[in-house]
């Protein structure tokens, strides 16, 4: 039987799903990227391969997320697409009538507006990571709370503190100040969750008409505190799918299916050596940082040039 692999390589986590012809998820996995997308993907593929019944053959691979291009080369993917498209397609396959997708990931956050299954508008955060998952996790670490306990703790509070969350650095100073003057931990945690929501709506969601059904996804959607404040502030129901963290991978798997070239893929990539070497070009005063990519010690691509010197065919 044919199946299709979608890989979403984000800044914090790497997600992979394998779907069948009817877009049902056969197996999935979610692991940390740990700053090394190539290794993370090798690990991920190994887990997926071990969970996959031998009757399935992979007929298409898609990659998305910030390392989509690199991993696309590694896996020889038949489609490489940006996260916005992948998230929209993935969500539409489960909620065909979705109107708004709120997505908060590790480093970026985005809003996608849809109408009749078509993306009509989108926005991504531009300047700062104050409204994203990495800020939450760094604060959790500082407060010595497990990120998993963050949401439940926030729900305990009846009186979230106000936090100046325009910028992560200032938000952190404000958090420390609030703790030092004696606010309770749960109030601070709840205030943090609320500030993420406010920040998101003021920056990414600025000027966008949020219509229900509203779907919330990305890693932060697992945080019950953030979800609570989204519902409260938007004054509408916000749906979080049990697979909300996999939507990007699911979407790109569906796109890989649609664009399948009929080629069969082998998931044995453990022994492929995949190296990158960065050099400064030095050809002109632009001094572009070039990244040379080697697969099995063979140069397969060069990135980063501004001129036409190294365009691959």
């Amino acid at each position: 039987m044919n199946c299709y692999l979608g890989v979403d390589i984000g800044s914090i986590s790497t997600k992979g799903v394998i779907i069948d012809e009817n877009n049902n998820i056969i197996t999935s996995s979610y692991i940390w990227t740990e700053g090394n997308p190539v290794n993370a993907v090798k690990k991920l593929i190994n887990i997926l391969k071990n969970n996959l019944d031998s009757k399935y053959v992979v007929k298409g691979i898609g990659t998305t997320g910030s390392a989509r291009k690199l991993i696309g080369l590694l896996l020889d993917a038949n489609i490489v697409k940006n996260e916005i498209m992948a998230h929209a397609i993935g969500t539409l396959s489960i909620y065909p009538d979705v109107k708004t997708i709120l997505e908060i990931g590790g480093q970026d956050s985005k809003i996608i507006l849809l109408n009749n299954g078509i993306i009509t508008d989108y926005a991504m955060n531009t300047l700062c990571a104050a409204g994203t998952g990495s800020f939450l996790s760094s604060q959790a670490k500082r407060l010595n709370i497990n990120i998993e306990d963050f949401g439940p703790l926030a729900l305990k509070s009846n009186n979230p503190v106000k936090i100046a969350a325009r910028c992560t650095v200032f938000a952190e100073s404000d958090l420390i100040h609030k703790a030092q003057v004696g606010y309770k931990k749960e109030d601070i945690v709840a205030g943090l969750c609320k500030s993420i929501v406010l920040n998101y709506l003021n920056n990414v969601g600025k000027g966008k008409k949020i219509k229900s059904p509203v779907i919330f996804q990305g890693g932060v959607s697992k945080n019950l505190g953030v979800l609570k404040y989204f519902k409260e502030i938007l004054n509408t129901d916000v749906i979080v799918d049990p697979n909300s963290h996999l939507m990007g991978a699911l979407g790109i798997a569906i796109l890989a299916k649609k664009n399948s070239l009929g080629k069969t893929y082998d998931l044995n990539i453990q022994n492929i050596s995949f190296d990158t070497k960065a050099i400064d070009c030095g050809g002109c005063s632009n001094n572009c940082e070039l990244l040379r990519i080697y697969k099995d010690n063979k140069l397969i691509d060069i990135w980063g040039n501004r001129c036409d010197k190294y365009i691959k065919n």
Binding site: I84, I118, T120, T126, C284, D308
Partner: protein, 344 residues
Amino acid sequence: MGDYYVPAKYLLNKIVDAEILVAPFITAKTIELGSKYSPEFVCTPFKYTLGTMIESLDNGANILIQFGGGCRYGYYSELQEQILKDLGYKFELLNLITNGKANIKRIYKMIKRIDKNFNVFKGLYYFFITIKMVKYMDKIDDYIRKNIGFEINKSSFSNLKKEMLEKFASVNNPFSLYILYKKYFKRFKKIKINKSKNCLKVGIIGELYTLMEPFSNYYLERELAKFNIELKRFTNVTYLLLKYKKVNKKALKKSKEYMKYQFSADASSNVYWTKYLCDKKYDGIIHIKSSFCTPEIGVMPILDKIANEKNVPMIHFSFDSNTSEVGIKTRLEAFYDMIEMRRK
């Protein structure tokens, strides 16, 4: 700025007896130099032009020419002159426009200072040719923008344009320039393209410097053309030199429902153009500006309102010396996917 150094150099070469150094192409070093000596929250064109001035002075220039106006750009040359003098450079800066106006008498005196033998009639004659040259270039560029996304042989447009500019630089009278223009326009039309009638069309509007200097917008037009999109851009030197007042007046008249008063620089025109692009059923509009560009920031809510009412997708890009190129590419890609999906 873009390819306009060709007519600028042409004019100066013809009218004054001095060695004309073309400012070096903008590179990463230019913006690094410019940012280093600029106030941080000044708009990016200030940084680019200051960087270019430093590079030109290092190349041996002793007279710099600057002009601009419309917004706070009108005060930039005085500030840049002071910064450069503080850095210890010795040079003369000719600011062609003061108080937002080009004073012919003052300009004449300035040119006289560079070259005592300057002849007014000769100057006007070549000024006329130069204006014509800019007009022709802009017309050709309009055609290129419409079709470059569909070229079959890579670089056929850019190579022919390079050749054309070289030929333009050696003309001596308006007639031979016209013949050349006609000849090259024919050749441009002969370039093989693979364009379908209902291709995607995108309009690009925004702040003039960022629009016209490809380095400062991270080669946005080139990236867009790769998606097989027909592009439309209104802002060019022909508009700035010859049509600016007319278009601005028209803009206010035609977009009364959106604005009562004139915005500075090109912001009013951008309102009018947004309306125009929406009415002409363009698939999307891209609004670009340098960070901290005040007129454009002021006009953004109006542009959004128009796009919203007419249901045309619009994205904004703010370019700064610290902008990440990858981020722009992802957003452009998503924009393309969106307008393509809407088409279906």
